[in-house]
Amino acid sequence: MCLAIPMTVKRIEGTRALAEAYGVEKYVDIVMTPDVAVGDKVIIHAGFVIERLDPESAREIEAAWDEYHRAMNDEKETGRPDGA
């Protein structure tokens, strides 16, 4: 029972924050991570921030994923799905 996704904190209003990911916005509760700040990447579960993403490790992962997405996009433009 662990579906949780990364979002970015846009605004903080008391015990809640407006978080954003992929253009989707949602108010989330930050009572479990009181030191969260605007711009932080956070993990959301059932409407709550349960943890902040560590910027260092996240950057590494993101760089890898950017590479990967670039590779995927190249593939989308030039490649053809063979469905096989």
């Binding site: 253009g23 989707v24 949602k26 799905p81 096989a84």
Partner: protein, 333 residues
């Protein structure tokens, strides 16, 4: 079949298929009740396509449409995917006592503009008002008639055929799920609700012999349509995950609520199976039209895994795209 009708019987999946086959057609007529998007009727002067659809949705107004535009486009599209030219619609309204007149007016205005955009006329109708609590604000039924000038666009599907779609997957279903779960969009995401008859007409005019099958992937989404196509067939259909046009917002909401965009409703999309060699030409035609700007080839018909719809994922692994069993609920597991 279950002792009682459950919500899942209305979700376009396996339960609904059981109800249609095991109860509705069994009693109303296995022969007479046609299973396709529209019934094709032969008259002395030619063939007509005839269809009906009932619309219930919460909320009744949403970014990109209302229950009214949905009711027009849904029926127009059910006719268009047969290759028919939609002409006339009926409009039956079931109104809940207490519905605001201003809301009804907005819905009717959106019906009218959808009909104008699709080039169809609403020629007859009916209204009923039911006691408060006996309906949810408004239900709309539309029936539609179209003429089939050429062939019904159904031809034998075989390995090598291509599967294409005229744009982004899941926008409508995800907008509705987002509204119901208090999610909003920083850049805006709207329902794709639109008539497909213009785009389909252009494709058929240029490639009259190429289209093997078309369907508007509404309730149950793209994966459910694929499952209908491959059911009992000696071929399978493989989608390439990297080729699927899915908006960031749709990915975002899907991730949050634990749902799959391949099973989310589309209201302005047509999924086509076409001759492999014509796929690029058809995509080009689609892309020249506003409602097909983001068209893409998303998969292939193959001899592998007969009777199965499957997805080749980013990792190169494959997984089955099962027939959706019931409605998708937001989940946290």
């Amino acid at each position: 079949m279950a002792d009682r009708i459950l919500a899942g019987h209305g979700s376009g999946g396996k339960l609904m298929n059981e109800m249609i086959g095991g109860l509705i057609r069994r009693i109303l007529g296995m022969e007479s009740v046609q299973l396709d998007d529209s019934a094709v009727l032969h008259t002395e002067t030619g063939k007509i396509a005839f269809t009906t659809d009932t619309f219930t949705i919460t909320p009744i107004e949403f970014p990109g449409g209302t229950i009214g535009s949905l009711a027009v486009n849904g029926t127009v599209n059910d006719l268009a995917v047969m290759g028919a030219k939609p002409l006339y619609l009926s409009c039956a309204l079931i109104l809940e006592e207490g519905l605001e007149t201003a809301v009804l007016e907005r819905i009717l205005v959106s019906m009218r503009s959808a009909a104008d955009a699709a080039g169809v006329s609403i020629v007859t109708g009916d209204t009923k008002v039911v006691e408060r609590g006996k309906a949810d604000k408004i239900f709309i039924n539309t029936a539609g008639i179209g003429i089939l000038e050429g062939m019904v666009q159904r031809r034998p599907i075989m390995p090598g055929d291509a599967v294409l779609i005229n744009g982004f997957i899941g926008d409508h279903g995800i907008v509705i799920m987002a509204l119901r779960n208090r999610l909003s969009f920083s850049r805006g995401l709207i329902s794709d609700c639109a008539p497909m008859n213009g785009l389909i007409g252009s494709v058929i005019a240029a490639f009259p012999e190429s289209v093997k099958f078309m369907r508007d992937p509404t309730r149950g989404g793209v994966a459910s349509v694929l499952n209908e196509i491959v059911k009992g067939a000696d071929f399978g259909i493989g989608l390439a995950e990297t080729a699927l046009p899915v908006r960031d917002e749709v990915r975002g909401v899907s991730g949050m609520l634990g749902i799959d965009p391949l099973y989310a409703a589309n209201e302005g999309k047509v999924l086509m199976v076409v001759r492999g060699e014509d796929a690029d030409g058809i995509v080009e035609i689609m892309r020249s039209l506003p409602e097909g700007r983001d068209a893409a080839v998303i998969g292939r018909v193959s001899g592998d895994y007969p009777g199965r719809a499957y997805l080749e994922t980013r990792t190169g692994g494959r997984r089955i795209l099962p027939l959706l069993i019931e409605e998708q609920l937001p989940r946290i597991c």
